[in-house]
């Protein structure tokens, strides 16, 4: 199938995939979920406040005990929202109140925490990822084959799986995480400034350094990770080839070399990682050291303030120390956020590439129903090109009457497959029109059009499902009788019945294995299920060995009855059977006519038939071996059929 996309005349400007543009698009995506995001953030705000209140209560508790034991210690700052114990109450009363309040706060926090994590999962996994995946998948299916030819299967699958997940990470690990950091820093700072602005400033002095170190680290480590991924890809490739090429490796006794090659790649990955490890291992100790310096400042300066009685020991110093620890863990996440941004941007690009890819062919909105198709196909001055400079088809015109068998001949790259793919409108011609029963394809409903055309490729994909379900692919509601009828026409009924579970036999990697000829016949049955008026056969015997080729030809003989059929063919027997042969050369229709007519005129067709060395050889062989047959008195002489138009299968009389 074609490898490059046509460039429509009015091509939209290519989408902008700069980091800035991608970030804006991701933010817009996040905005669609703004209420859920706000709810999640609100929960986080509540959680932080409650946590702080609990921490404060612990500090108050320490001060309360110290004051009760030693009257010279200042009385605790009892929180205004908490009922204070009466002055004459026993000392334990105050502690009971505090302990109870801590527990209640903790319980509230755990409920909220639960709500937070479920809410976040709901937002990301349940909404965003499902929506994103469905959109990517839906789009993927409508893209032209070009996309599937250009991209490896693994890469396409990743766009719908891990890339969609990474894009999601932009919402919860970047946007939400940044907001959480901002909120928590604000809440903490407000609390700390309330106790002592000077001490807050002193403690937070090292924070900018932490920030710088984090950002620097993320920047330093990223190229190393990129390189590592490349080396890893190389390693996996080396491994994959050792497995896929195991026949070659074993056949040439190359096990040692394969192992040696893998060893080199393996060591390269490990060596490069060891370099990363040094940077990674150095990161957290330096971050921790900066935090510890903040702690020493707090203990020195704050300790002195506590001695002077400027701040309470518990609710001041102890709580400060606790907050500082939480602070530094927040800062630590900066490196993670930076990493997530990078990952999300890379993946976003791959996801948006799919979502932005133009759908080249769409059903017209005002399409009239197709009705009964007679099968008359007309090409009117059709030109088509993948790239502007190179025409894949140029000014092709012909008309095919219903029920005709048309063979298409030509060298590789002459435009045979392109011509075929214009009929089910996999592409639209750049110039000219393709008509079905006199109506331009572009005015017809796309799905109905394609369903009235049966297609058989060189190699046909069968789904891992039952034989019956594979035949009924085009119409899942087909009755068993319909399925069997299609199989009978395709000469597949007999071998299907011999399978272990007949029509219910599973196919695919886990099921029965079919021969090439059997697979082809199933594909023919699948194409016939909808009883299409038009049949397109793209060299259906190319991938089967000659021993089984006749099975397919048998099947085709019946399949083409009463249908307009286009067949790409090399075999003379097929070419001779065709009502008409279209000969293509570099995208141009250079000759048309039946075999006999074409052989009578000079041109590429006759030249091609004549230079088929194999045919020459085998013809000589036929002539050589005819003699011994004819002289054998008892053996029945086998005479080649002499009729002008032998049956397709051509076999024994």
């Amino acid at each position: 199938m074609p490898a490059v996309a046509p460039t429509p005349a009015s091509a939209p400007p290519p989408p902008d995939y700069s980091n800035g543009a991608l970030a804006v698009r991701l933010l817009k995506l996040t905005w669609q979920y703004k209420y859920l995001c706000l709810q999640v953030l609100f929960l986080q705000l509540l959680l932080l406040t409650l946590g702080l209140m609990g921490l404060n209560l612990t500090g108050v508790g320490i001060d309360y005990v110290r004051h009760a034991v030693d009257a010279t210690v200042a009385a605790p700052n009892w929180p205004v929202w908490l009922p204070a114990p009466a002055l004459d109450a026993p000392v334990m009363r105050g502690l009971w109140i505090l302990a109870g309040a801590i527990l209640i706060l903790a319980l509230m926090r755990s409920v909220l925490n639960y709500a937070y994590s479920v809410g976040l999962a709901l937002l990301t996994q349940h909404r965003l990822v499902v929506e994103l995946r469905a959109r990517v998948y839906d789009k993927l299916q409508r893209l032209s084959f070009r996309f599937f030819d250009e991209n490896a299967t693994g890469s396409i699958i990743n766009r719908c799986t891990s890339d969609a997940q990474n894009v999601r990470a932009f919402v919860d690990q970047v946007v939400i995480q940044i907001f959480i950091m901002l909120i928590s820093l604000t809440v903490y700072v407000i609390y700390m400034v309330n106790i002592s602005p000077a001490l807050t400033l002193a403690c937070l002095a090292t924070m900018p350094l932490l920030w710088i170190r984090s950002v620097h680290f993320a920047r330093q480590i990223r190229p190393a990770y990129v390189e590592n991924r490349e080396l890893m890809d190389q390693l996996v490739l080396s491994f994959t080839e050792s497995i896929e090429g195991i026949g070659t490796i074993k056949g040439f006794a190359l096990e040692r070399q394969a192992a040696a090659r893998f060893d080199v790649d393996n060591r390269r990955v490990a060596a490069q990682r060891h370099e990363i490890f040094r940077a990674v291992s150095l990161y957290s100790p330096t971050m921790d050291m900066l935090t510890q310096i903040g702690m020493i400042v707090l203990l020195g300066y704050g300790g002195w303030m506590a001695m002077e009685g400027e701040i309470p020991l518990g609710a001041g110093l102890v709580v400060f120390a606790g907050l500082l620890q939480q602070f530094s863990s927040q800062i630590n996440t900066i490196a993670t956020v930076a990493d997530s941004i990078q990952l999300a941007l890379t993946s976003a690009r791959r996801v948006f590439e799919v979502l932005d890819a133009p759908i080249e062919v769409e059903s017209p909105p005002d399409a009239q129903p197709l009705g009964k198709v007679r099968g008359e196909v007309t090409f009117e001055n059709v030109s088509f090109s993948y790239k502007a400079e190179h025409a894949a088809l140029a000014e092709v015109s012909f008309q095919v009457k219903p029920g005709e068998l048309i063979a298409i001949a030509g060298a590789t790259g002459s435009g045979k497959s392109v011509l075929m793919s214009l009929i089910p409108r996999f592409y639209d011609p750049g110039v000219g029109r393709v008509l079905l029963d006199g109506r331009d394809l572009r005015t017809l409903p796309l799905e109905e059009l394609r369903r009235s055309i049966g297609l058989v490729f060189q190699e046909n994909f069968l789904f891992s499902d039952t034989v019956a379900a594979n035949i009924a692919f085009g119409n899942p509601d087909a009755t068993p009788a319909q399925i069997e009828r299609a199989a009978q026409i395709a000469a597949a009924d007999k071998f299907i019945r011999e399978l272990p579970q007949g029509y219910e036999t599973m196919l695919g990697p886990l099921g029965a294995n079919l021969s090439g000829g059997q697979r082809q016949r199933l594909a023919i049955a699948r194409a016939l299920l909808l009883d299409p008026a038009i049949l397109l056969l793209d060299d259906p015997t190319a991938a089967v060995d000659p021993g089984t080729e006749h099975e397919i030809i048998d099947a085709l003989e019946r399949a083409v009855q009463g249908r307009t059929t286009f067949i790409v063919a090399h075999r003379l027997s097929t070419l001779r059977r065709a009502n008409r042969i279209l000969v293509l050369e570099r995208g141009r229709l250079v000759q048309q006519g039946n075999h006999r007519e074409l052989m009578e005129q000079p041109g590429p067709y006759r030249r091609a038939i004549n230079i088929q060395g194999l045919d020459f050889e085998s013809r000589q062989l036929l002539q050589n071996t005819r003699a011994p047959w004819s002289v054998r008195p008892s053996g029945a002489p086998i005479d080649p059929p002499t009729s002008d138009m032998p049956p397709l299968e051509g076999g024994a009389p």
């Binding site: 320490i62 499902v130 469905a134 299967t153 491994f239 291992s281 394609r450 085998s618 086998i638």
Partner: protein, 634 residues
């Protein structure tokens, strides 16, 4: 503006029970349930920490014992340092600060600083060694895996999906790496940290420590309860994800069929259900862990309030002899005790993934080869090239024999053409010749040496194979040709091509011999790939040549060129050809006609035609298709 309150309802839902019809349906054709016979069925994998696997992983650290032992020392030191630092903060506040001792505070801060430096130094090496050890172990595992796979007979690869083998190398080994690097040693430090926090607390006040112990059973019970649920949730999540991936893979592979039948909408519906289904499992996982971690936190807050109560009570009653300042120390140590529980809880899922990966990996490493060269197998001496099959019986499944009492002799230098329908046993003969499989009975002799008595390596060194699907490795064309003899010079490679009379075809490539070959031969046409394989076999200069002729659509001109190359390749070697080309069959010294695993006719092309038997019929059929029963016009 309407707030979306769906999540509020979701909060108190029971774990989702995905719709039964959705659960196993991921095939795109009609959505029939698909039998899951994958040996990776996660149900078979153990659900808890499997000590045998851990022990085995530990054994792989043996070559790095020095690093590993240092690491354990560092882990031990580090598990004491963190609680000590926390204790230090508490002790400084409780001691010099509470006691208004400015001078003492200075000294305490200096000591604290020194301890902090030491801690970070330890951290650096702890991390570095853990990362290096993990990578080294994993590097070895990767190598072991490949080496093991290379010892397995070909039948294993015919049975096993490539994707599964590759995911051992990628996802499973990576999971093991992360497990060793992140979980194992971090986990050990966390455990040690809890332990030393306990010791410090007990030293301070064993009475308050008893209160801590009170909170341990609920934490343990919570952990135990959620451990099972989380690992179950993880497994369900992974399973549903593999259904999503499988469905996607089919979509991509079958896109042409889908588009030509206009089935996009049906498929999109199936996929949306699968993706939605997967999100329910994700949600279930979030719900479980969202319950687990907050509950652990409640537990630690419960501890703090209890300490406050008990500590306060002691402080108020002097007969208990506990100063109020001890409360401060306990408050800081509590973090050291409860922090690790949360971290360990978080890491548990990752540890399970790592162990599951290790288990799958070990299972593959432990796959015994179905058969191996016998221990007394001798290297095969240089061959003349006489090959004999004596009464050979063979079946891939012994219950369903493919070859029956098969006997023939190939004299040195003969070309043997194998002819017959698909499934008649041609490929089986090739598989037996190359010792890819072993016959159930009968003898295969090379110059009189029984195949079972010779090493596979020495046999295949004298054998050249050109398989139906020519496999090219990434690299240059020259690299691919000199595969059997990497030391061959460019001149030798060119000489080989010249002998094949195909040098011009390769020279016509963009960079000639140095043209890059992409994955799966991308960049070369089918004919060029076939030619490279011929050259490869020619360079190996084997005594015995095995050739499974490709049938793919190589255009007629190239086919004619390859035919002459092929004839040169066959010269002077004992060759076995699964023949599809008429000329090969015609030139063969012997044609063996197979039918359902039996040798039904044997002789030269002309003899067999003269017999007018099965071969003559086959040949006529074949010739008529190729020739169209009519010669070209002049």
């Amino acid at each position: 503006m309407s707030f979306d309150l769906e999540w509020l309802r979701e909060l108190f839902h029971r774990p989702p029970k995905p719709h039964p019809t959705v659960r196993h349906e991921y095939s795109l054709a009609r959505g029939a349930p698909r039998g899951d016979r994958d040996e990776d069925d996660p149900h078979e994998l153990s659900r808890t920490l499997n000590l045998a696997i851990l022990r085995r992983l530990f054994r792989y650290t043996k070559p790095y014992a020095k690093k590993r032992n240092r690491l354990f020392v560092l882990v031990t030191i580090r598990s004491m340092q963190l609680p000590l630092l926390a204790w230090g903060v508490g002790a400084i506040i409780r001691g010099p600060v509470a006691g208004h001792n400015l001078h003492g505070l200075e000294w305490a801060l200096i000591a604290y600083f020194a301890l902090a430096c030491f801690t970070d130094w330890t951290l650096y090496y702890r991390q570095l060694y853990a990362l290096e050890l993990g990578e080294n172990v994993v590097r070895d595992l990767r190598m072991y895996l490949l080496e093991h796979l290379l010892t397995l007979p070909l039948s294993y690869f015919h049975r096993t999906k490539v994707g599964r083998v590759i995911s051992r190398m990628t996802s499973d080994i990576e999971a093991v790496r992360l497990g060793v690097q992140n979980f194992l040693f971090v986990g050990l430090v966390q455990c040690g940290q809890m332990l030393s926090a306990c010791v410090l607390m007990a030293m301070y006040s064993w009475k308050l420590f008893l209160v801590v112990l009170l909170t341990a059973p609920p934490a343990w019970a919570l952990d135990r309860y959620f451990r099972g649920r989380l690992s179950h949730a993880t497994r369900m999540m992974q399973e549903s994800f593999s259904r999503v991936t499988a469905s996607l893979a089919e979509t991509v592979a079958g896109i042409r069929v889908t588009q030509s039948f206009g089935r996009e909408a049906v498929n999109a519906g199936i996929f949306r259900r699968l993706a939605h289904d997967h999100s329910l499992y994700n949600l279930n996982f979030a719900r479980q862990s969202g319950l687990f971690i907050p509950l652990l936190e409640v537990n630690s807050q419960f501890f703090i309030s209890t300490v406050l109560l008990a500590g306060g009570y002691c402080a108020f009653h002097p007969q208990w002899n506990m100063p109020a300042g001890d409360l401060i120390v306990f408050f800081f140590l509590a973090n050291q005790f409860f922090g690790p529980i949360t971290v360990l809880g978080n890491q548990f899922a990752q540890a399970l993934t790592a162990l599951a990966g290790a288990e799958r990996l070990f299972r593959m490493l432990d796959t015994p080869p179905e058969w191996q060269d016998t221990p007394d197998a001798q290297p095969l001496p240089p061959l003349q090239g006489r090959v004999e099959f004596r009464q050979v019986n063979f079946g891939y499944d012994p219950a369903r024999p493919v070859l029956h009492n098969f006997s023939f002799v190939a004299e040195p230098g003969q070309t043997i053409a194998l002819v017959g329908h698909t499934g008649s046993g041609k490929t089986s003969i090739i598989n037996l010749l190359a010792k890819f499989y072993q016959a159930q009975s009968g003898e295969i002799l090379f110059d009189g040496h029984e195949i079972k008595g010779v090493t596979s390596f020495s046999l295949r060194k004298q054998m050249g194979l050109v398989l139906q699907q020519s496999f090219l490795f990434t690299g240059t064309v020259a690299d691919n040709i000199r595969l059997p003899r990497p030391t061959a010079t460019d001149e030798e490679v060119m000489a080989v091509l010249r002998r094949l009379d195909c040098l011009d075809l390769i020279a016509a490539l963009p960079q000639g011999l140095q043209t890059k070959v992409g994955e799966k031969g991308r960049g070369l046409s089918a004919g060029q790939q076939q030619l490279v394989c011929f050259a490869r076999a020619m360079l190996a200069d084997p005594r015995i040549l095995i050739l499974d002729e490709a049938t793919s659509a190589i255009d007629t001109m190239t086919e004619a060129r390859l035919q002459s190359a092929l004839n040169r390749l066959l010269e002077g070697r004992t060759s076995f050809v699964v023949a599809h080309r008429l000329s090969t069959i015609r030139n063969a010294s012997q044609v063996l006609v197979l039918d359902h695993g039996r040798l039904i006719e044997r002789g030269t092309h002309n003899e067999l035609l003269a017999q007018g038997g099965v071969y003559a019929g086959l040949y006529r059929q074949f010739a008529s298709i190729a020739e169209g029963e009519e010669g070209p016009q002049p």
